[in-house]
C-alpha cells in the first residue's frame, strides 16, 4: 500500500467493562444492560473526551451479530441516542465477524483519508450473554461458512481452532505446545488483573499457569484439543475511539502527544469457503501484518507492543509464528519462555487480550486500538508497560472468522 496521503490519528479511547463470567457483578439470572446501554456509555465517554458531539463529522459502529444476539439490526439508528447532536449526521455499521471492530477502524481511517471527515466517532459493541453458550455457538458460527456448519462441532469455533491445535500438537509436540498455551493463558490473567475494565480483573487464581497446564483438553466434555482456558469467554461490552485528521485534532483541542498516529494499515481477506491450507499456520494474519508494517515503513523489531487476536490461545501462538517472532513450530516455546509477557521482549495483549480482557466480538478491534493508544500515550494506569524510544511502535491485529477477515494497524505516539 502507498504511504498515507494524510496524517490520521486516534484519541479519546474508552472501554466499558467486559461483562460476563469472571466479573463479580455478572449474574446470569439477573437482567443486564442491553446494546443501547453499551453504545451509549462508550459513545458518551468518547464525546466527553473530544469536546462533544458538535466536533463529530460522522460515526461508525462495528458489530457482528446483534441481529441474532439481540434481534436488532440497523445499529446506525442508535448513534443519535448517544447525543442528539449526532442526528442528521452520517452513521454506518460494518460487519466482518469478530473483525468488525477492526473494520470500523478502517472505515474511520478511510473517511479521514478521503477527506470526507476530520473526526469520526468509532465504536464497537457486542452483547452476547443474551443466550446460553450452546446457542451462542450457533450465532458465532456465522463467522464461518454456513455450509460447513452441519458437519462442524456443537461449539463450532472452538472446534475449528481445536482442529488447528490438534495438527500443531502432532507436528511439533503436545507437551511443548500445551506449555506455550498455558503461558499464554497465564499472561492473559496477569495482565487482565491490572485493568479494572477487564473481564478477568477479579481473577485471583494463585497459579494460572499450573491451572492451565493441569486442565487437559477432553473431547468428551468440550473439544478434542482445547480446554476452556484456551478460549476467550462470552462477553458484553463496547469500546470507542475518535479517528481524526490533524485538523480534527486541532478542532477537538487534543495535543498530538495524547493521540496515536496511524503509521500504516492493511486489510486482507481470505476465501471463507476454503479450509486453511495448513491448519498449523495462519495466512491472512501474517499478510495483513506484513502489509501494515510495509505501509508504515517499519519492521517487526521496531514494534514495542502488539495486540493480537487471541480468541484461542493457539491463535496467539500461531500469530507469533506468523509475525516471524518465532520460527514455525517454535512459537509455543517462545511464548513459554516469557517473550510475550508484559516484561518480555514483545509484550502482547497487555490488558489481557481476548482471553483475559474479554471478547465482545464486534468491539474487540476497537478495544485493541484503545489499549495501544493507552500504552503509547502513557494512559494505561496499572497496566502501563515501558515503551522504549528505539521501539516506539504498536500494532493491532484483529481477525474475523478463522483467519478470514483481518485488519492490521501500526501506530506511534503523535
Amino acid at each position: 500500500m502507498k504511504k498515507l496521503r494524510r496524517k490520521v490519528y486516534m484519541t479519546g479511547g474508552y472501554n466499558t467493562i467486559s461483562l460476563g463470567t469472571g466479573r463479580r457483578e455478572f449474574n446470569p439470572k439477573k437482567p443486564r444492560p442491553g446494546l443501547e446501554h453499551y453504545i451509549s456509555e462508550a459513545g458518551k465517554a468518547v464525546l466527553e473526551k473530544i469536546g462533544g458531539a458538535d466536533n463529530v463529522d460522522e460515526s461508525v459502529i462495528g458489530n457482528f451479530m446483534a441481529a441474532r444476539f439481540n434481534k436488532q439490526a440497523n445499529l446506525p439508528g442508535f448513534v443519535p441516542m448517544i447525543d442528539k447532536k449526532l442526528q442528521w449526521k452520517p452513521a454506518a455499521s460494518v460487519e466482518g465477524a469478530c473483525g468488525s471492530g477492526g473494520l470500523a477502524l478502517t472505515y474511520g481511517i478511510r473517511s479521514v483519508l478521503a477527506e470526507i471527515a476530520d473526526v469520526v466517532l468509532t465504536l464497537g459493541v457486542e452483547v452476547q450473554n443474551t443466550v446460553k453458550a450452546i446457542y451462542g455457538a450457533d450465532i458465532l458460527a456465522g463467522a464461518g461458512w454456513y455450509q460447513k456448519r452441519k458437519n462442524g462441532h456443537a461449539y463450532f469455533f472452538p472446534g475449528q481452532f481445536s482442529d488447528r491445535a490438534g495438527v500443531y500438537y502432532e507436528k511439533y509436540g503436545y507437551d511443548r505446545a500445551r506449555k506455550g498455551m498455558a503461558r499464554w493463558f497465564a499472561n492473559a490473567m496477569e495482565n487482565a488483573r491490572l485493568d479494572p475494565t477487564a473481564q478477568e480483573y477479579h481473577n485471583t487464581n494463585p497459579d494460572p499457569y499450573g491451572l492451565a497446564l493441569k486442565m487437559k483438553p477432553n473431547g468428551a466434555a468440550f473439544v478434542d484439543h482445547l480446554s476452556v482456558l484456551d478460549c476467550s469467554k462470552v462477553s458484553d461490552g463496547a469500546s470507542g475511539i475518535a479517528i481524526c485528521s490533524e485538523e480534527g485534532l486541532e478542532r477537538i483541542g487534543i495535543d498530538k502527544k495524547d493521540a496515536v498516529e496511524v503509521m500504516g494499515w492493511a486489510q486482507v481477506i481470505r476465501d471463507i469457503t476454503n479450509d486453511p491450507a495448513d491448519p498449523a499456520e495462519l495466512e491472512a494474519i501474517p499478510r495483513a501484518a506484513k502489509e501494515a508494517m510495509e505501509s508504515a515503513g517499519v519492521t517487526i523489531d521496531q514494534i514495542g507492543t502488539i495486540e493480537t487476536h487471541d480468541c484461542f490461545s493457539i491463535a496467539g501462538i500461531l500469530a507469533v509464528e506468523g509475525l516471524g517472532l518465532a520460527a514455525k513450530g517454535e512459537g509455543a516455546d517462545w511464548v513459554d519462555a516469557g517473550n510475550t509477557a508484559r516484561d518480555g521482549y514483545m509484550p502482547m495483549n497487555t490488558t489481557g487480550g481476548l482471553i483475559g480482557w474479554g471478547h465482545p466480538t464486534g468491539a474487540t478491534g476497537v478495544h485493541q486500538a484503545v489499549t495501544i493508544w493507552q500504552q503509547l500515550t502513557g494512559k494505561a494506569g496499572n497496566a502501563q508497560i515501558n515503551i522504549s524510544d528505539d521501539r516506539p511502535y504498536g500494532m493491532t491485529i484483529n481477525m474475523g472468522g478463522d483467519d478470514v477477515t483481518v485488519v492490521a494497524i501500526v501506530y506511534k505516539r503523535g
Binding site: I134, Y135, D138, A141, R149, A154
Partner: protein, 447 residues
C-alpha cells in the same frame, strides 16, 4: 424379553408428583435415546404418564419440556451425531428442539389406568399408602396380558408386603430414587426373597444407563436412607427438648442451636430441622408412621412433629421448588426465623441469635464449611483435625456435636446389625450420595 423390548412400553403411576415427574423424565430420555439408535428407528416406544390430576399432568408436560432442554443442552455434541443424517437440522437450536420433541413424543399423559395394561414395566411413585399401592398393582396385574414387572419408589413400605398382598410373586422390587430423581445419583435397590434374578438384572442395567449409584438395601421398612434419617431426626428433636429443659430456654432457641450444630459443627449441607422442613414435616411424620409398626422394640415417632402438624406448620416445597416454612421460616432459601410452638408464631433470628451463639461457644479455627469439602482432596484429614478439636472443647455446641456424631454412627451400625444394610460402607454411601454428607456416619471421628 430384552432390555430394550422391556422399555418399549412403560407406565409411571403418580407421574405428576415430585418423584414421579423425575422418574418420568429420566425414563423418557432413556427411551428416546434407545429409539434414536438406527436399529430401533421403526419401533415404537410408549411411556404412559398416569396421574389422577389433569392439572398435574399439564404441569408435568411443561416441566418435561424445560428439563429435557437442559438435558439436551448438556449432550449436544452427542445429539449432533445422532441427527447427522437429518440435513434439515443444522444448528444446535434445531437439534435441541428436535430432541425435545422426540422425548416428549414418547410420553402419553393419561388420567386413566387402563393404558398401563399394555406396559411391560410399571413404575409406582404414588403416595405412601400401602393399601392403595396394593390395589393399583392388583388391578394392573389382573387386567394385563403382558405380565409386567413392578418397580416401586416407596421409601418406607416393605416390598414383600406389597408383593404378597398383590400376588406379584417375584416380579417386584424397590427402586428408591432420592429427591429430586433427576439430580440425586443415589438409588436404593430393595429385593424381596422372591425377586427374580432377571428383574434385578434389568434394574441394575437401567440404573447404570441412568448413571445412578445403586446401594442394595434389605427389605426393612425405611430401608437405609430413611432408616438413618428418621432416627437422626428423632435424636435432633430429643436433643432440642432436652436442651430447652436443661437450660430453661424456650424450645425455639434450642431448635435454632441444634439446627446450627448439625449444620456447622457436623459439616452437613443443612441442619437437621432444615432437612425436616425440606422433606416436609408431614412427610417425615408419615414415613415414621409407616416404619413404626415394623419396629416392635423401637418407637419411631415424635411428638414435636405431631405438634407442628396440629398447628398447621408443614414445611415441604412449593411447586417452584422454593422452601415452604416449617420449623424454620425461609427468605430466599435461608432461615430467618424459628417457629415458637408456644405462641404459635415465628420469632425472628435477629432477636435471639446472638444470645444462642454465646451459649454455644465459638467454632475452633480448624472448622470447615460443608461446601468447601466438596472438592477437598485431604477431606478426611481436615475433618479429622476439626472433630478432634471439638472433642477437646468444653463448649455447649462442641459437646452436642460430638454426642450427635456418635449417635449418628450408632444408627449406622444399627442398620448393619439389624441387616437392613449389607455393610456399614453401604450406609455411608447412602448418606454421602443421597444426603450429600461430607463423610459417612460410620467413622472414627467422634470415638
Amino acid at each position: 424379553m430384552t432390555y430394550e423390548e422391556r422399555l418399549q412400553n412403560v407406565s409411571v403411576l403418580g407421574a405428576a408428583g415430585k418423584m414421579g415427574s423425575g422418574i418420568l423424565l429420566l425414563t423418557a430420555v432413556e427411551m428416546a435415546d434407545l429409539k434414536m439408535k438406527p436399529e430401533n428407528k421403526d419401533k415404537s416406544f410408549v411411556l404412559n404418564a398416569i396421574d389422577v390430576s389433569p392439572a398435574g399432568l399439564s404441569g408435568l408436560m411443561k416441566y418435561l419440556q424445560a428439563q429435557v432442554r437442559k438435558v439436551a443442552e448438556k449432550k449436544t455434541v452427542w445429539l449432533r451425531k445422532m441427527y447427522a443424517d437429518r440435513d434439515d437440522l443444522v444448528e444446535n437450536y434445531d437439534i435441541i428442539d428436535e430432541y425435545i420433541f422426540d422425548v416428549m413424543n414418547v410420553v402419553r399423559p393419561s388420567t386413566s389406568m387402563e393404558v398401563a395394561y399394555h406396559s411391560n414395566l410399571i413404575f409406582e411413585a404414588i403416595i405412601e399408602n400401602k393399601d392403595l399401592k396394593v390395589k393399583l398393582f392388583s388391578q394392573i396385574k389382573n387386567n394385563s396380558k403382558v405380565n409386567p414387572w413392578f418397580f416401586t419408589n416407596t421409601s418406607s413400605v416393605p416390598i414383600n408386603n406389597l408383593e404378597n398382598e398383590a400376588g406379584l410373586d417375584g416380579k417386584i422390587l424397590g427402586f428408591h430414587f432420592y429427591n429430586p430423581p433427576a439430580v440425586q445419583r443415589l438409588v436404593e435397590l430393595i429385593t424381596t426373597g422372591k425377586t427374580k434374578e432377571e428383574v434385578k438384572e434389568f434394574a441394575l442395567e437401567y440404573a447404570k444407563k441412568l448413571k445412578k449409584v445403586i446401594v442394595p438395601s434389605n427389605d426393612h421398612a425405611g430401608f437405609i436412607g430413611n432408616g438413618h434419617f428418621m432416627r437422626d431426626a428423632m435424636h435432633g428433636m430429643d436433643e432440642a427438648e432436652a436442651l430447652a429443659a436443661e437450660k430453661n430456654i424456650p424450645l425455639y432457641k434450642a431448635i435454632y442451636i441444634i439446627n446450627k450444630v448439625t449444620q456447622d459443627y457436623l459439616v452437613r449441607p443443612m441442619g437437621i430441622f432444615q432437612l425436616i422442613d425440606y422433606v416436609g414435616v408431614d412427610v417425615v411424620s408419615f414415613i415414621m408412621s409407616v416404619m413404626n409398626p415394623h419396629h416392635e422394640d423401637e418407637e419411631i415417632s415424635h411428638k414435636m412433629l405431631d405438634k407442628m402438624l396440629e398447628q398447621g406448620v408443614k414445611g415441604g416445597q412449593h411447586s417452584s421448588g422454593a422452601q415452604k416454612d416449617g420449623f424454620l421460616k425461609y427468605k430466599g432459601g435461608r432461615p430467618v426465623a424459628v417457629w415458637d410452638t408456644h405462641k404459635q408464631e415465628y420469632v425472628e433470628l435477629e432477636k435471639f441469635q446472638n444470645e444462642c451463639e454465646e451459649m454455644m461457644g465459638s467454632l475452633p479455627d480448624s472448622s470447615v464449611a460443608w461446601k468447601s469439602t466438596l472438592r477437598m482432596k485431604n477431606k478426611e484429614e481436615v475433618l479429622g483435625a476439626f472433630f478432634n478439636d471439638l472433642k477437646q472443647l468444653d463448649t455447649l455446641a462442641a459437646k452436642l456435636a460430638v454426642k450427635y456424631g456418635r449417635r449418628s454412627k450408632a444408627i449406622g451400625e444399627q442398620l448393619f446389625n439389624s441387616k437392613v444394610a449389607h455393610s456399614t460402607d453401604d450406609v455411608n454411601t447412602v448418606m454421602l450420595t443421597g444426603f450429600f454428607h461430607a463423610y459417612g456416619p460410620v467413622n472414627i471421628f467422634f470415638d
